[in-house]
Symmetry: C2
Subunit: 433 residues, 2 copies
C-alpha cells in the first residue's frame, strides 16, 4: 500500500527537530518521505518513482503525526485478571490471585486473551510492546495474527519454563515473522535460583546478547536478595555476568547509587511502570536520578491485572507526576523527556532501532493524534499537551508497518472485537469456575 | 423531551444497590423511572401517563448508565494557560505565570475560555462542576449557554473581588437559571487578610450558609499561617466562625489530627485534587485518614493550568493510586469508595442533592459508559473497571437536565467547537502578545 498523509503537524521525535507542517509518505511497511509541503513537491519532481499512485491520501486536517508509543513492559494476557485481583500488595497478589489462575491457563487461552490487550494498545497509540508471559509461541501468534509488533522476553523461573526453553524461544522467534522478536531474560531474582541464573548467563555469553528481568520492584525483594547474596538484585545479577552485553530491568523502584553505577556502566535501560507501582503500593522509582546519571528510561504499563489499563497517556502523566512528588520538585522530569521515554527510548530498549522516529527508511509505526479535541486546545504547547493532557480519546489512528490497524474506533486486526470479547468471557468463566 | 434508555446496565449509586439490567426514563429535566425491564412493563401498565410517546428511544446495547461525575474543584477559563505554565512550584507558578495573565483577562475572555473546559468536562462524563474564578457572572453565562451545571464560589481575596461582591454573587446567581448556583467562599487564607475573612464570616452567619476555600494545599502555606496566627488554615478559619454552617476546602493536603477533628465536627467536605497536587509537587492528601475519621471526600480536577486536563477518570485513578503510595498499602481506598467520591459526595458537597444518584425524581444528569471498549473487557468488575481502567474514550453520552450535551464525539452546546477554539486562539494571541 502507498499512503500519503498531508496537511499534518509532524513530530518526528528526531533530536532537536521541532514540530512542523507537512506530509508523510508510506510505501509498504516503511516511511518513504517526511517533510514540508514544499519539500514534498520538490522531492516528487526529483524522484517521481517514490511518489507512485496513492492507494489512499489522508487529509490530516492539522492533526499530529508522531511515532507510535512503545509499551516497554507488559503481560498482555493478564486481561483475564483485570479488576479481579485488586487492592492487594504484590506478594499476596501474586500468590493468592495470579499464580493459581495462571497455572490453569492454556497456550490457546493466552492467544485469545492477548488480543483484548492488543486492541487496547491500539486505542492508546501503542505500536509495539515489550512482552513477558507464559507461552511465548502463542503470544507471538496472537500479535502476528493481529499485525502488531511484539518484542518478547521470557518469564523463566524455578517453577515454569527453563533456560533450555529460553534458548529455543530466542532462536525460534527472532526472524520468524515481521512482527515478532525475542530478547533474553528471566522473571526475577526472587523467583530464580542462582543455578538457573548462572545457566542463563552462559546463554547471554553464547549469544553476546542483552538480558532483562523484573528488578528491584519492591523494598522487600531487595532486602531478601541482600539477605541471600549480600547484594541487591542489580548487583547480584551483574555479578553473574548477566548484564555483560547490556539489557535492562523492569520497575527498578528500589535502587541505590551502587545499582545506578552498574546500570550506567552496563548501559542498562530502566523501564518504569508507575501505574502498577502505585496501584500495588510498591513505591516511586527515582526517575530524576536516572536522568541525572544518564541512565536511559523507557515506560511500560505492566500487565492489566496490576495497572489495570494499558494506556501510555496515563503512564506518561504518572511518570512525571510521581517523579515530581518523589522529589517534591515541580520542575522535575519535563514533558519532552517523558515523551522521549515513551517513544524513542522504548524502541531502543526493545531493539527496534527502525521504529524510533519518523524518517525516511524507518518502519511506518505511526500514530495520529486528534488536536481538535477540547483537551488539546488552545494549542499552546503540543508536547506538553500530549504528556499532561492527552488521552486515548485523542488517538485518531494507529499504523503498524504501514498498515492502519486502528482508526477512530474501528479495528483492522483480522478478528471481530465482539468475537474476541466473547472468547475472553468463555475463558474467564472456565478458569474462575 | 421524553427519552427512554433500554437494554442498559444501570449503576444507580444508591447505597447498597448492585448494578442491574434495565431501563431508565427521562421526562423533561428529571428521571421518571429506573428499574428492570419487567418493572418497567408493570410500571407502564399502572402509570400509563408516565410513559408517554417517546421523543427518542436509545438501545444502550448493554452499556452502562450511571450518575454524571461531579468535578468538585476547578477554574475553567484557565484553559488559556494549559501547557503554558508547567514545571514550576505553586507560588512561582501563581506569581510569574498565572496572576500577570489573569490581570489582563476580561469577563468576555473568561466567558469564551470556559467553553473549552465545558466541552472537555462533557467528554469526561462530568455533568456539574464546582467552579471558582474571577468573573462569576460571565462564567455563569457560559455554563447556562452551553447547558451545563455549575456551582460557583468566589475567589475573593485582598487583590480582587470583595466581600460585598461575594454577597452580590450569592444573591444574584442562586435561582437565576436552572444551571447555575452559588456557595459562599474565598480564595485562601494566604491571599485574604484577617479583616476580609471576618467580614466573610458575618456573611456566613447572615445567610447561615456553608463556606469554602483553598485550604492547606502546600506545606509552606500551613507553616506561614501558623507563623501569622499560631493556627493552621483550617483552625484559623474555624476560629473566625467561617465553618459554623459547614462547607469545606479544596486540596487539604497538609492537615493534622486537630484539623481533622474540626473538619469532622463541622461536617466539612475535603475536595482532593491529586492531579494538580502531584504536578505542582504539593504533596499527597491523607485520603485514607479522612475516610477513617468519617470526613466525606469529593474529587476535583483543579484548573487546566495546573493539571493540565479536566478528566475525572485520571483523578479517580490518582486518588486511589496516590493514596496507596502514601500509606504504602495496596488495599488503601478501594474503587467503590472512589466512585462514590466522584459522584454522590461531589453532588452533596456542591449542594446538588437532586443530582447524586439515578432514581425517579432526581435530575437527569447521566452518563453512558461504553463497555464494548477493550479496556472494559472482560467484564469482571464494572466498578473497578471504571476507577482503575476507564478513560474518556469510554464516555458514549453525557446528559444534563434531560438534554444530551455530548454523544460519541458530537457536542450540543449551542456553539460550534471550531468557533470556540478559534476564539480561544484569538484571546491567547492577544493576552500573550
Amino acid at each position: 500500500m502507498n499512503i500519503r498523509f498531508f496537511n499534518a503537524r509532524i513530530l518526528t521525535m528526531e533530536e532537536g527537530k521541532d514540530i512542523f507542517q507537512g506530509e508523510l509518505w508510506v510505501k509498504g511497511d516503511r516511511i518513504s518521505f517526511v517533510g514540508t509541503g514544499d519539500e514534498a513537491k520538490e522531492y516528487q519532481k526529483a524522484h517521481p518513482e517514490k511518489a507512485p499512485s496513492w492507494d489512499r491520501e489522508i487529509d490530516c486536517e492539522q492533526n499530529l503525526l508522531m511515532p507510535g508509543f512503545k509499551d516497554a513492559h507488559t503481560h498482555s494476557a493478564m486481561t483475564l485478571m483485570r479488576s479481579k485481583a485488586d487492592d492487594l500488595p504484590l506478594q499476596d497478589w501474586l500468590n493468592t490471585q495470579i499464580f493459581p489462575i495462571e497455572a490453569r491457563m492454556t497456550a490457546e487461552d493466552i492467544y485469545h486473551l492477548s488480543k483484548i490487550a492488543i486492541m487496547e494498545y491500539l486505542t492508546s497509540g501503542i505500536t509495539a510492546v515489550f512482552e513477558m508471559y507464559l507461552t511465548p509461541y502463542s503470544v507471538a501468534d496472537s500479535f502476528r495474527d493481529c499485525g502488531m509488533r511484539c518484542v518478547q522476553t521470557s518469564c523463566v523461573n524455578n517453577f515454569s519454563q527453563s533456560v533450555e526453553m529460553l534458548e529455543d524461544y530466542y532462536r525460534d522467534l527472532n526472524g520468524r515473522d515481521e512482527y515478532n522478536s525475542f530478547i533474553l531474560g528471566v522473571h526475577a531474582e526472587y523467583t530464580c535460583s542462582k543455578e538457573l541464573l548462572e545457566k542463563a548467563s552462559k546463554l547471554v555469553h553464547k549469544y553476546k546478547a542483552p538480558f532483562w528481568a523484573h528488578l528491584s520492584e519492591t523494598k522487600s525483594e531487595v532486602e531478601e536478595c541482600r539477605e541471600r547474596y549480600g547484594m541487591s538484585p542489580v548487583g547480584f545479577m551483574d555479578s553473574l555476568g548477566l548484564f555483560d552485553y547490556g539489557g535492562g530491568g523492569y520497575h527498578l523502584v528500589w535502587t541505590d547509587d551502587k545499582d545506578m553505577e552498574i546500570m550506567k556502566k552496563r548501559g542498562l535501560y530502566a523501564v518504569t511502570n508507575p501505574g502498577s507501582n502505585s496501584k500495588l503500593a510498591s513505591g516511586i522509582a527515582p526517575i530524576a536520578r536516572y536522568l541525572e546519571k544518564g541512565i536511559p528510561v523507557a515506560i511500560g504499563t505492566d500487565g492489566p491485572a496490576s495497572n489495570n489499563c494499558l494506556d501510555m497517556f496515563r503512564e506518561m502523566f504518572l511518570t512525571t507526576a510521581l517523579g515530581k512528588l518523589r522529589d517534591m520538585d515541580a520542575s522535575s522530569i519535563d514533558a519532552a523527556q517523558v515523551l522521549k521515554m515513551a517513544t524513542v527510548n522504548g524502541a531502543h530498549a526493545m531493539g527496534l532501532e527502525d521504529a524510533d522516529i519518523l524518517a525516511s527508511g524507518k518502519l511506518a509505526d505511526i500514530v495520529m493524534l486528534d488536536m481538535q479535541q477540547p483537551n488539546m486546545q488552545p494549542v499552546n504547547n503540543i508536547v506538553k499537551n500530549i504528556v499532561y493532557s492527552a488521552s486515548k480519546s485523542n488517538v485518531a489512528m494507529t499504523m503498524i508497518g504501514g498498515i492502519i490497524r486502528y482508526e477512530r474506533g474501528s479495528f483492522n486486526i483480522g478478528a471481530n472485537p465482539g468475537d474476541i470479547y466473547r472468547k475472553a468471557e468463555e475463558i474467564s468463566k472456565r478458569l474462575y469456575s
